[in-house]
């Protein structure tokens, strides 16, 4: 039954046009491999699976196996990371059905016929679900359905051709390519085609051998396969076999054997096991997830300390809240350092990395300001924002991909780049904090308009936060020019990313001038600061996700737009409401002596 199955798959894929061969051609290879794999390696397993039924494997110890390095996506990563990324990529969640991702990946290889008919390939776009004829509430489809779906294949093919011709794709077309990619990943894992475990690098491409390659060689001529390679195949089959039986002792032994033989082949160039261990530790520790949990509790405790105003509330609510805030900061620092060590570079390459950096720097600024001003509000605003930031980073992997990927050539080994990006995003962080403090001011303006003294103090504090942001953003933008001159040969070229950084800066500079001229008092300044953050949002998110043009294309991506629009709409409504409400009783609230003297030339 299986071989018939495979033939239909091949039949489907061979109907593809030649112009789409680059992406689809791989499918051909992998499907071809499916056959050889099915004939050789999985023949035994087929029998076994018939014997054992499709019973789930028992709880196995995956630690040894998870540490084995694999070459994928331009770097070496432990199998643990590979499995997490693959399962997350194909299904949209890391622990699919609550299982260890490595177990899921092994199961793909061990029970392909069961998975082929299982609905687990993620389809996100609702219109696309209708298009391929599944109910709109069905989030996953089976590989069989997709492979046999002529409409889907044709649609993906034409979308791919469009993409090649640089025509902008609509969301359904983008989704068709994404779904094809997910299907492809499953097929490649199943066939062993992406399992580049064998550290024998091709001299031209530096490409490691895959389990798929070994199977093919074995299938063609057993005698020509070197002994070490046979050993790899045997122990890999042994791992699958033991997995299938749920025999932990055997699984351990076979994982160990596989690990040893691969290390032996690799010799001195084999990736450092310590680094692999660090990465698996990072994967299971999930420091950024812990960080948002800690910040959530810190935010709640600090908020309560404002509700109960007694000194006891300070001791029993605020101080623990503050301690947790510092713990959260420590947790994210730890995550940061680990990530930098694993990637071997600072976090400057994509939206996910900039989001965690900005959130992290925001909490650093919050801590410093809190230590200077001692108003408790920085802990409150900082922990709420940090909670939001790390929750976003942790929960939408399809938009903000947490995978560690190699960096673009132009971004490599450049001191200026690192300084430029980190400075500019630290500026964003200060503005993010000013957004938080701005909302505190809005709260006072709305609910406690009588507390003029407090409002004046708050506005002065807000002014300080904005100043820090302005210094950093100005310096970062100019450093960007220095880097662009060094790397592209021009200081300034009105590229959208640099232009929007400038627009955001101009917005804040305008507010500072308005404040110094005495035109913006508490209400005006607060509204200004909160709305100027929309410029930062555009420079940070909008250029990469909405405009999508220019030289900073390495950060371009898609997704999340409805949420960002909802956020912007919410802020506009909030500012209007507070503006109208506070504006009514305004004249009494603004008779503050303003520092306009220094601006007046006389």
């Amino acid at each position: 039954m299986e071989s018939k199955n495979q033939t239909t798959i091949r039949h489907r894929f061979t109907q593809m046009n030649t112009d789409s061969e680059k992406i689809f051609g791989k499918a051909l290879v992998s499907v071809h491999l499916c056959e050889s794999v099915a004939k050789k390696l999985f023949f035994v397993l087929m029998l076994l699976s018939v014997l054992c039924g499709l019973a789930f494997a028992g709880e196995l110890d995956y630690r040894t196996l998870s540490l084995i390095p694999i070459q994928e996506g331009g770097r070496f990563k432990p199998l643990d990371t590979f499995a997490r990324e693959s399962v997350r990529f194909a299904t949209g969640r890391e622990a699919y059905e609550g299982r260890n991702p490595l177990a899921t990946v092994l199961d793909w290889a061990a029970h392909p016929q069961a998975w082929d008919n299982k609905n687990f390939i993620l389809v996100e776009n609702l219109d696309f679900r209708s298009l391929i004829g599944i109910p709109q509430d069905q989030k996953w489809v089976s590989p069989q359905l997709l492979i046999n779906h002529e409409g889907f294949i044709a649609y993906a093919k034409s979308s791919y051709a469009k993409q090649q011709r640089k025509i902008t794709l609509d969301p359904k077309e983008k989704e068709s390519l994404a779904v094809f990619g997910r299907l492809q990943r499953y097929e490649d894992v199943k066939s062993g085609e992406v399992l580049a475990l064998v550290p024998v690098a091709d001299t031209a491409t530096q490409k490691w051998g895959t389990i798929g390659d070994l199977n093919r060689a074995y299938h063609e001529s057993k005698a020509a396969v070197p002994e070490a390679a046979l050993g790899v195949l045997e122990s890999f089959a042994g791992v699958l076999n033991a997995y299938d039986k749920g025999d932990d002792a055997q699984f351990q032994a076979q994982s160990q054997a596989l690990s040893q033989i691969l290390a032996q082949i690799g010799g001195k160039d084999y990736p450092d096991p310590g680094k692999m261990r660090l990465e698996t530790q990072f994967n299971s520790l999930k420091p950024f997830r812990w960080a948002w949990i800690i910040y959530l509790v810190a935010a709640l405790l600090t908020a309560l300390s404002f509700v109960f105003k007694s000194p006891r509330a300070y001791n029993w609510l605020y101080l623990p809240g503050f301690a947790l805030f510092v713990t959260g900061l420590g947790m994210s620092t730890c995550g940061f350092v680990m990530r930098c060590l694993i990637a071997g570079r600072p976090p400057v390459s994509n939206m996910y990395e900039s989001l965690i950096w900005v959130t992290f720097m925001m909490t650093v600024f919050a801590l410093i300001f809190e230590l200077i001003f001692k108003v408790r509000l920085f802990v409150l605003a900082g922990s709420i924002l940090a909670w939001v930031g790390f929750v976003l980073a942790d929960n939408i992997p399809t938009v903000l991909s947490p995978s560690i990927e190699p960096i673009e050539p132009v971004l490599r080994s450049s001191f200026w780049l690192t300084i430029h990006v980190l400075t500019i995003t630290s500026g964003y962080a200060a503005f993010l904090l000013s957004l938080g403090i701005g909302h505190v001011c809005l709260w006072f303006l709305w609910f406690r308009p009588g507390r003029k003294e407090t409002l004046q103090k708050l506005t002065r504090i807000l002014y300080r936060v904005v100043q820090v942001g302005v210094v950093l953003l100005a310096a970062g933008t100019i450093l960007g020019g220095v880097w662009a001159n060094y790397s592209w040969g021009r200081f300034w070229g009105w590229d959208p990313k640099e232009t929007w950084a400038l627009i955001a800066l101009l917005g804040y500079v305008a507010i500072l001038h308005g404040r110094l001229a005495g035109w913006l008092r508490e209400l005006g300044f607060t509204i200004g600061v909160v709305s100027a953050f929309l410029g930062v949002l555009m420079a940070w998110y909008g250029v990469n996700f909405i405009l999508g043009v220019g030289l900073h294309s390495y950060g371009f991506s898609k997704g999340g737009l409805p949420y960002v629009i909802a956020f912007v709409a919410f802020e506009i409504v909030l500012l209007t409401v507070v503006g109208l409400k506070a504006g009514k009783g305004k004249l009494s609230a603004v008779d503050t002596p303003m520092p306009e003297k220094s601006l007046n030339p006389r």
Partner: protein
């Protein structure tokens, strides 16, 4: 006595009343520019926003505003240090940009391995013309202020008393090739006008038998050929090499009449049939029909250009219409940006040549590409780094010096900087290395201004404004 303080106009020019609206207007202009760039292309945004006279004027006004505001506080007090140097820093950066714009060059040079080059191209549309064997002349032809029109042509008097006029300019044009009858002394090709229509495709093109550039039309899934009937039959009998599975052949029969033959999935759709002008025939591919509305027994391709709306995310394709007057004779035509040059001869053996393309600038030294190298991320086809080994030669002394140019490691020589910009791979696997070449005389002014500006901001924020005598650190 400080005029910046006393004079009403200067005081307004240096006031926050002017500065604040200007900051906001500038922000709005820039935002519009980025949206234009996203909607259309970088070239359109440069042309209509960043590169315009009013945008430059606005920046100039900003500089005046900064200058007046800085000088209105003269003599400067100690606490104004930050304020003053910040504003002067911005003026410095703007001045540096002006110097760059006026005296700088920024172009590209592409070299194959083993090739030597000393001319780089800058994206500044330029009209080139040559009279007989005189040196080639150039005129800037991007027309940012007022494009030439029949009422206001651009006129150049030539050395032989002739007149060169540019009387039409399209910023973005679509090139079409039409057939025209040959004139005295010209040799032409048999030509046929073909139209193809289906619910998806509408093609309208002239084909010229024997003109390699214009003898067939490739629609992607199918092709149209115009050949002699005997040649076509010969090709088919030799296995039909180079003929796609779906094709339409318009055939010139020995008696001078036209025939056609279709081909579908590699199978001929019957014997060649007679083709009547202006009549629709099915091609056999989906619902596509074709017809040949007209033909010329001896014709030549003639380029014409039509104005087009701005392209979506693509470069602009300008074109201009010229007229050359010599005595009573007149010659007119179109020349497109980076399309082939036009040449013709008028009476008394006066030869003219016209071309339209990017500005070409001579480097004071020659660059020879020895070897181009790409490194990939292990196991992928993603380039991780690329670099060129070059020799650069001082043309005066003839001394060759080796150098290594890679991303972020440019070559500096004789005031120019050569950067590794990108690369292309030829079908045969060899590489073309693309360098960007630039000269930026304003860079030190910009760098100096930038350092001053940042120091100024830090200074300004660090030292508390004396008007703020209240302590800020009281708890809430």
């Amino acid at each position: 006595m400080n005029p910046f303080k006393e004079n009403k106009v200067l005081r307004f020019l240096g006031s926050v009343k002017l500065a604040l609206p200007m900051l906001l207007i500038l922000a709005a202009l820039l935002a519009t520019g980025t949206i234009v760039e996203s909607r259309f292309s970088t070239a359109v945004a440069k042309r209509f926003v960043y590169g315009t006279w009013w945008f430059g004027g606005f920046l100039l006004l900003l500089a005046v505003n900064l200058l007046c505001s800085a000088f209105s506080r003269f003599p400067w007090k100690k606490h104004q240090t930050g304020f003053v140097i910040t504003h002067l820093g911005i003026i410095c950066i703007l001045a540096g940009s002006l110097i760059t714009q006026q005296g700088g060059d920024d172009g590209q040079i592409a070299l194959k391995e083993g090739e030597t080059g000393h001319v780089f191209q800058e994206e500044k549309p330029t009209l080139y013309y040559q009279l007989n064997d005189e040196p080639i002349q150039k005129i800037p032809a991007s027309f940012p202020f007022r494009p030439p029109s029949p009422d206001h042509p651009l006129m150049v008097r030539l050395e032989n008393e002739g007149l060169l006029m540019v009387n039409q300019f399209y910023l973005n044009a679509q090139r079409t090739v039409r057939g025209r009858n040959v004139e005295k002394g010209e040799k032409g090709f048999p030509a046929v006008h073909v139209e193809l229509n289906s619910s998806f495709v509408h093609e309208d093109q002239w084909l010229f038998l024997g003109d390699a550039d214009n003898d067939h039309l490739d629609l992607g899934p199918a092709s149209v050929f115009f050949e002699k009937e005997s040649d076509w039959k010969k090709r088919l009998s030799h296995g039909g090499k180079g003929i796609p599975d779906n094709a339409l052949a318009i055939l010139l029969a020995p008696d001078g009449s036209l025939k056609y033959q279709t081909r579908y999935h590699g199978q001929p759709g019957g014997e060649p049939q007679a083709l009547a002008l202006g009549q629709d025939y099915p091609t056999g591919w989906m619902d596509m029909q074709f017809k040949a509305p007209e033909r010329l027994s001896e014709g030549l391709p003639e380029e014409t250009f039509e104005s087009q709306p701005f392209p979506y995310q693509k470069d602009l394709q300008p074109a201009l219409h010229f007229e050359v007057l010599q005595g009573t004779e007149k010659r007119e035509g179109w020349v497109g940006y980076q399309s082939s040059p036009v040449s013709f001869t008028l009476s008394q053996g006066q030869a003219y040549a016209l071309g339209y393309g990017p500005k070409k600038i001579d480097l004071p030294f020659a660059l020879r590409l020895l070897k181009f190298k790409v490194g990939f991320d292990p196991g992928t086809e993603k380039p991780a780094s690329y670099a060129s080994d070059v020799f650069y030669m001082d043309q005066a002394s003839g001394v060759e010096t080796p150098a290594h140019i890679s991303m972020n490691e440019p070559l500096h020589f004789m005031g120019y900087t050569v950067y590794q910009a990108s690369y292309e791979q030829e079908p045969d696997g060899s590489y073309i290395s693309v360098f960007s070449v630039g000269k930026d005389p304003g860079i030190w002014c910009k760098y100096g201004g930038a350092i001053v500006l940042v120091l100024g901001i830090i200074f300004m924020f660090w030292f508390k404004n004396p008007a703020w005598n209240k302590r800020e650190t009281n708890g809430i």
